[in-house]
């Protein structure tokens, strides 16, 4: 990796850690251990289902909140605080700065997700008293969640490159919700004719397809995740986030920093 991108990324990661972003892990641990103890007492043979469902959903929500709230400030905060002036007056190209910030945040989320994932496995081990080979599919679900974070970060960065932090947060969260319902939207588009159907179809393919990356229910029931889906989702997430980051770079390249 280009060394300037790596330095910007590392600084972004260090900033997130020192701003106590990883403290969310404590809240997550409390939530999950509380749930595990509760489930251990009241569930009959569905402990695994409940813990995996609850755990992975919490991983997604915690991560999305971090991705949105840090993502929208990645560049705008630097402009507002004018820390960018001393960075861009050095031999750092604007695209390198944007990509570095993006990688720094995704790195933070990766570390965060790793610890949350470990917590999910511990909770599962606590309620089920053992881990099975099939539990490995939880790793695939966690990987898909990271792919979702990649897209959410890129979208937050894209929106924040031309709108206010509040609007960027609203837009990104709205896209996350719509994207999570994209399968339903595609179904609606297929069942609807005329202009409404065409519009629904365009929207359904434009919004990120988070439905395809949500295999939480599947792995909670012990089902495996197809290798082909892993490949397709990886390519899709890389393509989608690259396009969003490219858009952010294009806007940022021309932006006057007042």
């Amino acid at each position: 990796m280009n060394s300037r991108i790596a330095h910007v990324a590392f600084n972004t990661f260090r900033e997130a850690v020192r701003d106590r972003v990883l403290y969310n892990l404590i809240a997550f641990a409390v939530l999950l251990s509380g749930a595990a103890i509760l489930v251990g007492q009241i569930s009959i043979d569905i402990e695994r289902l409940v813990v995996v469902n609850l755990g992975l959903t919490a991983v997604t929500l915690f991560g999305v909140v971090i991705a949105i709230f840090i993502g929208i400030g990645l560049v705008s905060k630097e402009i507002e605080k004018r820390t960018l002036y001393t960075v861009l007056s050095r031999p750092v190209r604007r695209w390198e700065f944007v990509v570095g910030k993006f990688l720094g945040l995704t790195g933070t989320l990766l570390v965060n997700t790793f610890f949350m994932g470990v917590a999910v496995f511990l909770a599962l081990w606590y309620v089920a008293h053992h881990l099975e080979r099939g539990d490995l599919s939880i790793t695939a679900a966690l990987y898909f969640i990271v792919l979702q974070f990649l897209i959410v970060c890129a979208l937050a960065l894209l929106f924040s490159s031309f709108s206010s932090p509040l609007l960027s947060a609203v837009f990104t969260f709205a896209l996350f919700v719509i994207g999570s319902l994209s399968e339903d939207l595609r179904g609606f588009a297929a069942a609807t004719k005329g202009i409404a159907g065409a519009v629904a179809s365009i929207v359904a393919y434009l919004v990120p397809n988070f439905s395809a990356m949500n295999v939480v229910n599947q792995v909670a029931h012990g089902e495996t995740v197809a290798g082909q889906l892993i490949l397709y989702n990886t390519l899709y997430a890389l393509l989608y986030s690259t396009m969003a980051i490219s858009g952010a770079v294009l806007i940022f390249q021309r932006r006057n920093l007042k």
Partner: protein, 313 residues
């Protein structure tokens, strides 16, 4: 080779939310600054000083015209490795310590890792922050931030240093240290371009100054050349018990001390005043020109555009 050269460099911002209106921040600027020069850019708040600095450091883009730094385009990474910039009232990453911040900026400037640590220590010492190297910037005072800002601007040994209001927020000792630092930079052969509205600093430090107001360069040149353009005053000292009535109508400001009278009046009224003294048969002791300060030149050039007497770039 000129260190800085601008040709019709201009900037207009679009302001407003819906129907954007143009607001001119800088009218076409033609300026050449030679290598090794200390150049002071003077003007009141909102005059266009910071906009010019942002244009020269690639932070904003010109609406028209061009700027060349060390013979190359402003955005050229080779140029950026050779310039240092201290923004006005700088903010830095407050989660970092002073040492970490300088290391980060050194890395971004492409400094070799083996030299970086020793250079960081040297710079911290040079700006008087050696004892605060491990303190996070969120705990720094305004003056300390200004010092760390200066350190980052000269860390990578740039050939050209841009300083936007470098004395801002500093106490008298800090201001003197910054003045000394700028002089040291000149001795090291560096070019320094700094904006200020503290005229005494500019007068003491600069080889040349430029006065900007309402986005227009009103004058540029050596301080002595600029102040010589201002219609000066003369001081006359003569023996008399009181001030002759004829002098007051010539705009003289008089001070009587015993039987000596000292009057200061516009240079163009000098002959008329001498005639008054001859008529009154008073003995002239001395006649000396009063040195015009940069402040007078500055104030005279803050008239609305068109009424200025600047020589242009």
């Amino acid at each position: 080779m000129a260190a800085i050269e601008t040709i019709n460099l201009a900037k207009t911002y679009a302001v407003g939310f819906w129907r954007k209106k143009p607001r001119t921040a800088l009218l076409p600027l033609n300026l050449t600054i030679e290598t090794g020069e200390i150049f002071g850019f003077l003007g009141p708040n909102g005059a266009g000083k910071t906009t010019t600095l942002k244009l020269l450091t690639g932070i904003v883009f010109p609406t028209s015209g061009t700027a060349r730094i060390l013979g190359k385009d402003v955005d050229d990474p080779v140029v950026k490795a050779q310039i240092g910039f201290l923004p006005e009232q700088p903010y830095f990453y407050d989660h970092l310590t002073a040492r970490e911040l300088l290391q980060y900026y050194g890395q971004l400037s492409g400094m070799p890792a083996k030299d970086l640590s020793s250079r960081v220590e040297k710079m911290l010492g040079r700006v008087g922050l050696a004892d605060a190297a491990h303190t996070q910037l969120r705990k720094f005072s305004k003056g300390m931030l200004q010092r760390v800002g200066l350190a980052q601007a000269i860390l990578h040994d740039p050939r050209l240093v841009f300083l936007d209001e470098p004395m801002s927020g500093l106490d008298p000792i800090g201001r003197r240290e910054v003045r000394e630092l700028i002089q040291q930079l000149k001795q090291e052969g560096k070019t320094v371009f700094f904006s200020t509205h503290i005229l005494s600093d500019a007068e003491a430090l600069c080889d040349r100054v430029g006065v900007i107001h309402q986005g227009q360069l009103r004058g540029v040149g050596a301080v002595a050349d600029l102040t010589s353009q201002v219609h000066g005053k003369v001081e006359m000292i003569f023996t008399a018990g009181s001030v002759p009535a004829g002098l007051t109508s010539l705009g003289a400001e008089a001070r009587v001390s015993g039987n000596m009278v000292s009057v200061v009046l516009p240079e163009e009224n000098q002959e008329a005043a001498l005639e008054v003294l001859r008529r009154e048969r008073l003995r002239l002791t001395s006649l000396t020109p009063v040195r015009t300060s940069l402040e007078e030149y500055y104030m005279q050039n803050l008239q609305p555009a068109g009424k200025s007497m600047g020589v242009g770039a």
